[in-house]
Amino acid sequence: MIGSGQSTVERGTEGLASAPWRDGRGARGVVWGMLAGVLLGGWGARGQNPPMMDPLMSLMLSQPRIDITSEVRATATFDPPLVAPGEVAIYRITFNALEESIDLGDKLPAPADLEIQQGARGQMLQMLGGSLVPLSGINFRVRPTKEGAFIIPAFTAMVYGKPVEVPAARVDAVANAPGSRRRHQLVLELTETNLYVGQPTPARVYLAGTQTGVVLPLSQVQLTGKGFLVDQGTTGQRIIQITRDGVSAPTFVYDTTLTPIESGNLSCFAQAFTSGLQLSGPVVVSGQMMLQGGLPSNALLESDPLAVSARPLPREGELPGFTGGIGIFVLEIPKLATNSVQVGEPVRLSVTVRAVQGNLARLVPPAPPRSPDWQILNPSSENAPPQLIQARGFTTFDYTLVPLNTGLTSTPSIAFSYFNPKAGRYVDATIRSAPITIRGSAVPWDSAILSATGTPPPTNEPDLRLSDLTANQGRASMSLLPAQSTGWFALGQLLPGGGFLGLWLWDRRRRYFERHPEVLLRRRARRALRKDRRAWKRAAREGNAELFAATAVRAMRVGCAPHYPAEPRALVGSDVLDVLDATEPSDRTREVVRKLFSATDAARFAGEGGPQAELLKFEPDLEQVLEQLEARL
């Protein structure tokens, strides 16, 4: 509609711009065009809808304003103002500001003999004058250790980044203080404090009214602590008559369920605001009671801490089908929607579970078993509110079963178990089979698909059953690890590898010596020369001139042998001197060589006595000769 109006105006404008002013017909057309454009434009504007606002923005704008601009005031009180030494009082500070904006500093300026401990901390919003006024309460548990008056002086807190003065407050500690009770004592009670992890236990928070029947309703009730869950789905509020310490009074009761999720010693306490007539949620009232009118005095109350011991569930003895249910449950006989179905036709199996103890609303149905004869869909949970399930005391598991074969006479049993905390053991609560008749008519098409996706039809498959034990151990293996992944396997490969490498190197060396026999000769000669040289030195040390001469000559022969094609024994002194000629030996050296050969020849061939001892003095010269011979090898 907007578009049509605009286009009409544009067409009218174009007509005006292109009008032949001198033509009377054209002038009439312009006037009619302008009139039509104005009329149609107005009609188009009438049909135009106002722009739609973002729903989220609308919701936000519809909420009352939170007052954070008013002057922030703080109050500080002790509850009760008179206690005995060692008793606990609550030091309560209240601000008309948002809780997150409050900064009290690191430490309160408390007297030394006043033990102080952090308590509850909370916030609520009051509807005043068309806006929501925040109210934040911060509690501390204080305990005077001796008699006297204890004053926490006025101090400055930062709120919204601005300083706000918290007034001074006084508590008196007097022995045998009369009536040293808090004005409003919030009480937290648990049915059991010795629990298993995951075991839900009912928790009750209550605030007794006055004997005259005046009740103080609570709001923002919460359990504070670590290591447990509070089931908000099972909460309820009541005002009932409760007799306590012999006095009956109407009492505001808040019921919920607490579940430890950590093992060990846990601690928790309840906190709540007194709310006057400003009730949050439905409250069931029984008996006579009175509610005080007027503006409520919203105070943050808290109970004494309660210790809870949580143990982990035992591992041993866990039964199949355990889904975390802790309590005492009773299963009724499972009911089938019908007891005669065709193959492929779904049938509903309903199991009703009643609770003697435990949280029915959070009970998880067991997973269906896998069966080749049945297609079982996952169980559907009830859509009823948890409060209703808990109140009526039973819940129902619904399974949808589809028979895949004929000849079945009962539904499969479904393993289910729960943990009984009283007995400290798991209890078998298997959902029993229900008798059923499966009519063996033609298999519907969808059932055929289910059969095809499951186990293939056992047409030629042999009858499968568990075999008997094997009498033969079989060939043992060192380990399940593959051999090639072990270190010893790699080391084992070094043996043949090293063997083949050694063989190849030996062959290579052998072939080298075959091509270069002189290398081998010189190497052998060098080895023999060193050996004879050692023997010669030994003879020199012992002073054995005969052996000295013989070993010296033998060493010289061995050292010269590679230079001649002859046997070392056939060499004579001149042969040695010929070899030494290359080193230009001195006359003394020549004489030493000649004398040694002469002495040994004489001893060998002429049968003369052994060489004279004077030969031993040639040792340094001979040492030089042998070094020269070795150097030439």
Binding site: P320, A367, R370, S371, P372, G454, T455, L464, R465, L466, S467, D468, L469, T470, A471, N472, Q473, G474, R475, A476, S477, M478, S479, L480, L481, P482, A483, Q484, S485, F489, G492, Q493, P496, G497, F500, L503, W504, W506, D507
Partner: protein, 252 residues
């Protein structure tokens, strides 16, 4: 003196070999005794005792027969996952163990479990025991090397059969290489051994569960971090606790 030292050394070696042989004999006797105890316990209906005895025997020296019987005992003790694992290990050690193969078919049908999905080279690796492929490749390699090297070293003329043996050995070597890879990757295949094992998104205790796996479901270990292993199953990939999952090669 030198001769005396040589005798001493030889004597020590002989004593060592005799001790090793004695230990092996004692170990074999212990395994046989445990195997017998397991069979007796199974026959008398004491399946837990049978599991203990067969497990102890398998810890000493795993064999196809011991693993097959261990699987039977675990199955009778309602331990589906450990039974499947034991039968798979029986086939890992000895692929010719027919009873284990039949029992696996039976167990998977009864408990509606899936078989692990294997690649072609992993299927090839199932034809022989896992250890056999390594030895086959090793022996083939050294035979090929030896047939080429030894005649050359000892200056024997190259014969036709030398070349035939060398070609055969090299063929066996190359054929066994894919199977070796298959054994290596199949060693990471494992099975869930605990009931309703949670498959976690992260390796932490507080992790979100992706789902739960039935005892005996297959998976493949991709990575291990601390006490968690990242496994890939036919449906999802996630982390399980090491104690709830075990591979056929016992690496986890």
């Amino acid at each position: 003196m030198k001769t005396c030292g040589g005798f001493k050394r030889t004597g020590r070696i002989l004593v060592g070999v005799a001790l090793l042989g004695f230990c092996a004999e004692v170990r074999g006797d212990a395994i046989a005794e445990l195997f017998h105890q397991g069979v007796e316990a199974y026959r008398s209906g004491n399946y837990t005792g049978a599991v203990s005895a067969f497990q102890a025997a398998a810890d000493l020296a795993p064999s196809g027969g011991i693993m097959q019987n261990l699987g039977n005992a675990e199955w009778q003790a309602q331990q589906v996952g450990p039974a499947v694992l034991a039968w798979e290990r029986a086939l890992w050690v000895d692929p010719l163990e027919r009873s284990a193969r039949a029992n696996l078919r039976f167990a998977r049908k009864a408990a509606q479990l899936e078989s692990p999905q294997l690649a072609w080279y992993e299927v090839v690796s199932t034809w022989l025991p896992a250890n056999a492929w390594g030895w086959l490749a090793s022996v083939s390699l050294w035979i090929a090397v030896g047939v080429v090297l030894v005649p050359h070293v000892f200056r024997r003329p190259k014969a036709g059969w030398h070349q035939a043996v060398s070609a055969l050995a090299l063929t066996l070597l190359f054929l066994s290489l894919p199977a070796l890879v298959g054994v290596h990757s199949r060693a990471r295949v494992g099975f869930v051994i605990a009931k309703d094992t949670p498959l976690r998104m992260t390796p932490t205790e507080e992790s979100q569960f992706l789902g739960r796996m039935a005892s005996g479901d297959p998976g493949r270990v991709l990575r291990i971090r601390g006490r968690y292993a990242l496994i890939r199953t036919p449906r999802a990939t996630g982390w399980v606790e090491n104690v709830q999952f075990s591979t056929v090669s016992g690496r986890l």
